[in-house]
């Protein structure tokens, strides 16, 4: 009998050689009331690659992630997910694209009336209706084991720590075997040990699942650990994009200041 673990990854254009990227955003502009948050951001992330988006608070990092998953609509610019432009899609059409993506919210955003197990099972219940109850249970246990929370199945989100909530959020984000993983401040508000554990976990998941990942963070140490490329955002623009060494060798004052302060 096929289990949830046997569900094959969908082959898309993004997997093919020569494709532009799993996530490609171009010239994104977003203004809230009179406040310009993004001012022409263009980025591209390929499968198996992790891009860390760095920047001070309020520079539009989280808005960028929300634009990528379609929770916010850009004023100008395009967002292509696995080769498909998401502009103009209906909510249900967008849902089909979102099934290929996992999103970890900054504060985990767990459903507070559901247990940890039910939170992780939520995407499976909704989108893997062919899965038997026992297969679903196995899949939930496997996901919780991956994030190191085997014993938390029946706990309520309010009964676990912030770090554990983030792990549950990560398990939920991985439930549908996403091809793209978006992480919004995965280590924010956590102590150094928990932050390190989360970083290790993300690295491990990256190695095992080979997803395209975008990590929004202001934690340079975390970004250096988990990302293959980094982009520094300031006042809605990408100031620099490249490997950590490129940032270190940069002459841009803001980059130097960011590296010095972090």
């Amino acid at each position: 009998m096929a289990t949830a673990l046997d569900i094959p990854m969908k082959q898309t254009d993004a997997n093919l050689p020569g494709h532009v990227g799993a996530v490609a955003v171009e010239n994104l502009h977003k203004t809230f009331e009179s406040h310009k948050v993004l001012d022409g951001v263009s980025l591209c992330v390929n499968r198996g690659e992790t891009l860390a988006v760095l920047g001070r608070s309020g520079t539009g990092k989280s808005v960028l992630l929300r634009l990528i998953i379609g929770l916010v609509i850009p004023d100008v610019g395009s967002v292509c997910i696995l080769g498909q432009d998401i502009a103009g899609l209906t909510l249900d059409e967008l849902g089909e694209v979102r099934k290929k993506m996992g999103f970890l919210f900054q504060h985990a955003a767990l459903y507070d009336s559901l247990t940890v197990g039910q939170n992780v099972a939520f995407p499976l219940v909704r989108h893997r209706s062919g899965l038997s109850k026992s297969d679903r249970g196995d899949r939930v246990n496997q996901l919780l084991a991956e994030v190191g929370l085997e014993g938390a199945l029946d706990k309520m989100p309010s009964d676990i720590s912030g770090g554990m909530q983030k792990r549950v959020g990560l398990a939920r984000a991985l439930a549908l075997d996403p091809e793209i993983l978006l992480l919004d401040e995965p280590t924010a508000g956590l102590d150094p040990i928990s932050s390190g554990e989360i970083d290790e976990l993300i690295l491990k998941l990256q190695r095992e699942h080979q997803m395209a990942s975008i990590v929004v963070t202001h934690d340079l140490h975390s970004a250096k650990t988990i990302a293959s490329r980094l982009a520094l955002l300031d006042r809605g623009r990408v100031v620099i994009e490249g490997e950590f060494d490129d940032l270190e060798q940069s002459d841009i004052a803001l980059v130097k200041q960011f590296l010095k302060q972090s």
Partner: protein
């Protein structure tokens, strides 16, 4: 305050008034689209039917009973003055079934269910649970709003029948304590000469009340901003606006029923 400032404030109020209706219209369209397209949320609908229906029943029954007693006492005093005590059962039955029962049910449900939906959805909104639902490719208009609105539409007429029954029974009890009359005689006398068109339209008009309550409370909840204060505001606005629009809709519906059925 200067004239210019006063006119500016008035223009702002008018703008927000039309903006509110415009956004409610867009929300209604989204919910309608979600409600008529699969997948249908049968399990969640049943949960909401229970929440709106059976959990409101004791409150609605008590309110209906209280109205029955008050009407019996008030109408008796007036009828005695005009020497028309034989018309007392008809006066009580008609008052309750045609107006008091539906209106009281609408207002009680506005308070209990309107506040509940408004606060629950607002809390989910400010803690990003609704965004998490969307990110998991689940349409929140279908799962959260449509199910609650349909439950309100279906349960209001049934709750109205319960309120009517309790009101008539308690009206009889209050009446028989002063001037003994059997329940059978009271009901027979109360319904004498009446037709179904006297009772069905006022009962089914409460489906419109249900639509108003569900729609306004869901909209207020799902469009909330601003943390705990926003949740409180959403709950209050849900009750106030739902109650107000129930009363205003009643005026229109009563006139419509009189024109169409009499």
């Amino acid at each position: 305050m200067s004239v210019a400032a006063e006119s500016g404030a008035s223009a702002g109020l008018v703008t927000s008034f039309f903006e509110w209706f415009g956004n409610l219209g867009i929300f209604t369209w989204q919910v309608m689209k979600a409600a008529v397209t699969p997948p249908f949320e049968g399990r969640e609908l049943i949960r909401q039917l229970d929440d709106v229906g059976s959990k409101s029943l004791p409150l609605v029954a008590l309110a209906g009973a209280a109205v029955g007693v008050v009407l019996s006492m008030e109408v008796r005093a007036s009828m005695t003055r005009f020497g028309a005590t034989s018309l007392l059962p008809s006066a009580i039955v008609f008052s309750i079934v045609q107006e008091m029962g539906p209106t009281i049910t609408g207002l009680v449900v506005s308070g209990r269910v309107g506040a509940g939906i408004g606060a629950e959805l607002a809390s989910m909104k400010v803690t990003e649970q609704i965004d998490a639902m969307e990110a998991s490719a689940v349409n929140p208009y279908r799962l959260l709003a449509a199910t609650r609105i349909v439950a309100c539409v279906l349960m209001l007429p049934l709750l109205t029948v319960a309120a009517d029954a309790c009101g008539i029974f308690m009206g009889w009890l209050a009446q028989t304590l002063v001037a003994p009359i059997s329940l059978h005689q009271f009901i027979e006398s109360g319904f004498r000469g009446s037709t179904l068109s006297d009772f069905l339209p006022p009962t089914f008009k409460t489906a419109v009340f249900g639509l108003i309550i569900g729609l306004i409370a869901s909209y207020q909840g799902m469009s909330t901003r601003g943390g705990a204060e926003g949740v409180g505001r959403a709950a209050t606005n849900s009750v106030v606006l739902a109650s107000l629009f129930v009363i205003l809709a009643d005026v229109v519906l009563v006139k419509l029923i009189l024109v169409v059925f009499h």
